[in-house]
């Protein structure tokens, strides 16, 4: 039976809670209700209120309490109801959690789950992709799985990791994708990108929901004769610069794709990493396909125009391919 992305996250959480009694969940409406997206449905009944803590609406206290508990040796997984509300816990994450180890050697093994992304008609406050606030903050790890396999495996790795991990799960993927997962325990290492599709002519470097957009574009470009490689970053921090550069060295052309807005987006860091490392291998400009620099609009025609899609990728990729 294929497992959805959402179910994969559930499984990751569930199995880690079974494995390690120090793992516990906290967040708003995650207990009796099972969470806004039902990711934790059934957890409260099985693990009890001690390990599935329904909290007041207090993102700062949720993350702060997770930090405190982690310092005492527990492994808290904190849920933000939507990634957008992570702004309310911002100081706790970027100043407290991120800097403890460097300052006084204290491990903060927390996971902050952040359901992110658009395409669900959520409007400006239920659709954002706020990964760059964290990618620019040393001390954090940031993951953004695209597949059910990686969602489960990265969840396990994140929980076992001894550093704070921001776990971006794309709402649009929750029920949209599924695949057969291996039996038994596995973890996907944090910090390792994945070649989602091999190709020779051009690399698309991306992550999260856009991996599927890239694959769709690659498929259609293949019909035109272009061999497109798709690099799925999986982890945004620490960044797997080697895999990225190896792909660029092979294809000599690179298109950077993300659902987040353009200025200050992940594509910037990627472009800088690439030009400083494999500049001589480049046979064309580095091209970005991203959302434009606006809030995420609510109305369908606007949101559709806002989000990157295969057509936009194909157009730019074709141009670059022929460059």
């Amino acid at each position: 039976m294929p497992t959805t992305y959402l179910e994969a996250i559930r499984e990751g959480l569930w199995e880690e809670m079974e494995r390690d009694p120090g793992v516990f969940l906290l967040g708003e409406d995650i207990g009796v209700y099972g969470g806004a997206f039902k990711v934790t449905a059934g957890f409260y009944e099985h693990f009890g209120e001690k390990r599935v803590v329904d909290t007041p609406i207090s993102e700062a206290a949720i993350v702060g309490a997770a930090i405190g508990a982690s310092l005492m040796g527990l492994r808290p997984v904190a849920e933000m109801q939507f990634a957008d509300f992570i702004t309310c816990a911002f100081d706790q994450i970027v100043n407290f959690a991120a800097k403890c180890r460097y300052r006084w050697g204290a491990a903060v093994p927390i996971v902050v789950r952040a359901p992110s992304g658009g395409g669900v008609h959520g409007g400006p406050f239920h659709s954002q992709n706020p990964e760059m606030w964290f990618v620019r903050t040393p001390g954090l790890k940031v993951v953004a799985p695209a597949t059910a396999y990686d969602a489960k495996g990265l969840m396990k790795a994140a929980i076992r990791d001894n550093d704070p991990v921001i776990f971006f799960e794309h709402k649009g993927l929750y029920r949209r994708i599924k695949e057969n997962l291996p039996e038994g325990d596995y973890a996907v290492p944090i910090g390792k990108a994945r070649i989602a599709r091999e190709g020779r002519d051009l690399s698309i470097v991306t992550y999260g929901a856009m991996v599927w957009t890239a694959l769709e574009a690659a498929e259609r470009l293949a019909e035109e004769g272009a061999s497109v490689e798709v690099v799925d970053l999986r982890t945004l921090l620490p960044l797997d610069r080697e895999t990225i550069c190896a792909s660029v060295r092979k294809t000599s052309k690179v298109l950077l794709l993300h659902e987040d807005t353009r200025t200050g987006g992940m594509a910037g860091e990627l472009a800088a990493s690439i030009t400083e490392s494999v500049f001589e291998d480049l046979d064309g400009p580095i091209v970005r396909v991203t959302a434009p620099d606006t809030p995420v609009p609510y109305s369908p025609p606007l949101e559709e125009a806002f989000l990157p899609n295969a057509a936009k990728v194909i157009e730019k990729a074709r141009w670059l391919w022929k460059y």
Binding site: Y33, A36, D84, C88, F125, S299, P300
Partner: protein, 333 residues
């Protein structure tokens, strides 16, 4: 401060008048929200989140009727009444929900995330309680500008858990700003009951933390809300600082249109079903002979007609053109 209890000629007429206004706006709000939650949403004509104030209409209606022209309103996601009273036509609210260009945000945002500075209504953002310090700042501006106006800041009991809420109330009280803080305590925040939200029994118990007068009001009695808001606004308008009103009520629906609220025990639906603010006001109007049964029925019919037309007009409003996507992030863009 003028008291409201002394009898005087015309008072009965005024009371009746007020009751009829409350009835009209509550019925209108209920009707518009019913269409949204039970028709348009289910028909797929509304694709985003839908949060309604079913059962809580007395709060936004009773309080917003107190607001004077220059007063500033910061309604929460269950306070449609405030928009209607302020003069936002129902069809534009419906257009907002449907993401049409005639919505107050022209399709950029959905549901009650809307405002209009010409009407002195500030749009909330999703992050709960974020508008609370903003309301304090609006009140600061009103005083700065020498105006005798107040700001009305609305929120649910769950929102009082947020740091923004605390900072806003503290700032307003230290600065003695003209703000009326209006809590709808509907006993749930999404699925979370109030006792899992706060250890104190009432939101009003938080007043002393800010040395702020705090009062508990029957939130399903529009006239009681009106009176309490009048007192609170007079206090604030008089330069005596902010005031906290806790309106006890119940959310007679799910958190949002997709939530069946199985977590609410049946007895609460039953008990609070009997406290419907529209029915209660109707009964009072009949008992006090402020209106006749036929008048009330006619009013209901009028509301239904109005909303029929509003829905139709909203549906005629076009979806925004994709070419407008980039407009208005900055002033000259």
């Amino acid at each position: 401060m003028s008291t409201t209890t002394e009898a005087r000629p015309g008072e009965r007429r005024e009371q009746a008048e007020l009751a009829r206004k409350c009835f009209y706006y509550m019925a209108l709000m209920r009707e518009v929200e019913d269409r949204i939650e039970r028709k348009l949403y289910r028909q797929g004509k509304i694709v985003g989140g839908v949060y309604v104030g079913r059962g809580q209409e007395a709060i936004s209606v009773g309080s917003a009727l107190v607001a004077e022209e220059g007063d500033v309103l910061c309604p929460s996601h269950r306070d449609m009444g405030a928009f209607l009273i302020r003069g936002v036509p129902a069809w534009r609210i419906l257009a907002q929900y449907m993401g049409r260009v005639d919505g107050l945000t022209r399709g950029r945002d959905g549901n009650m995330h809307m405002g209009d500075l010409k009407l002195n209504i500030i749009a909330i953002i999703s992050a709960l309680a974020a508008t609370v310090p903003v309301a304090a700042g609006a009140a600061l501006a009103l005083r700065y500008q020498g105006k005798k106006n107040v700001a009305l800041s609305y929120f649910g009991e769950g929102s009082t858990s947020l740091g923004h809420w605390h900072e806003g109330l503290n700032f307003a009280s230290v600065q003695k700003l003209p703000v009326v803080f209006l809590c709808n305590n509907n006993q749930y925040a999404y699925s979370t009951p109030a006792e899992a939200q706060m250890a104190c029994a009432n939101v009003a118990d938080r007043g002393p933390a800010y040395n702020m007068p705090a009062e508990i009001v029957d939130g399903n009695d529009a006239l009681a809300v009106y009176e309490a808001t009048r007192r609170a606004a007079a206090h604030a308008r008089g330069g005596n600082g902010p005031y906290l009103l806790e309106c006890k009520t119940f959310r007679m629906t799910g958190h949002s249109a997709h939530d069946a609220a199985h977590y609410v025990p049946q007895h609460l639906w039953d008990e609070w079903g009997k406290q419907d603010p529209i029915e209660r006001l109707e009964a009072r109007m009949l008992a006090e002979e402020w209106s006749a049964a036929e008048e009330i029925e006619a009013e209901r019919a009028r509301v239904r007609r109005e909303v029929d037309e509003a829905v139709e007009r909203a549906e005629r409003s076009p979806l925004p053109d994709a070419s407008t996507l980039l407009e208005g992030v900055y002033e000259n863009q």
